[in-house]
Subunit: 136 residues, 2 copies
């Protein structure tokens, strides 16, 4: 399979350190956390504003990339399901997709709500939530 390189444009600082007890999705009780961006991408984040929702893409660096099917949510009573039909972190390309709310911006440090990523998780990208086509 063809490979490409992604690079960390920042990292998550979070009180979450244990995958076993972290919430499975950001709206299931994630604490506030901070994305600390690399100085090289300062210009890319210059227009992020508190109070807006954005989509954060992360690199789930503790995932197992050889897993192709899982029991959803680790519940062994549920049938094995192809990972493209689950949000399991274990998948060929472990890219996390998170909708978060920006709480504060302080230079390269962006405080966010509802991010369930573990402390130290690399961040790959931030994108605006798409609204109505007429407003784009």
């Amino acid at each position: 399979m063809t490979e490409f390189h992604v690079r960390a444009v920042g990292r998550v600082e979070s009180p979450l350190t244990d995958p076993a007890t972290a919430p499975k999705q950001g709206d299931e009780g994630a604490p506030e956390s901070t994305i600390v961006f690399e100085p090289e991408v300062a210009e890319a984040l210059a227009d992020l504003r508190p109070g807006t929702d954005v989509i954060v893409l992360t690199w789930l660096d503790r995932a197992d990339r050889d897993v192709l099917a899982v029991h959803p949510r680790g519940d062994g009573s549920r049938p094995l399901t192809g990972v493209f039909s689950t949000r399991s972190p274990h998948r060929p390309n472990p890219i996390g997709l998170h909708r978060v709310t920006i709480a504060a911006v302080d230079g390269l440090r962006v405080r966010v709500r509802d991010l369930e990523a573990l402390d130290g998780t690399p961040v790959l990208d931030v994108k605006p939530v798409l609204g109505d086509p007429a407003d784009r």
Copy 2:
């Protein structure tokens, strides 16, 4: 910046070949297209079903990764904006995020609606749309 490797788990087959005339988002007139997956990930896509909406992540292989700010939608009358506040394909990690509807599944070939990716675009991942927490 730390680097990671992603690999193409499939490719887009689409009538879209020219970035200049392709729709900017999938709900702005994208034609039907087909994702052709690699045989190695067959198990991961085994539970994809026609009629459902999924999120497809692509690798926008014709993007310029050195761009940090753009005029939104290529409109020079709009102010330069940090790419993390835009959906520009030009950004440090050119990962495309697309919400599509599955029209048909035939082995490794998955036909989808509303995918604006160009012909040949590598596919990195497919994820279910998150519904109500109680239904996960």
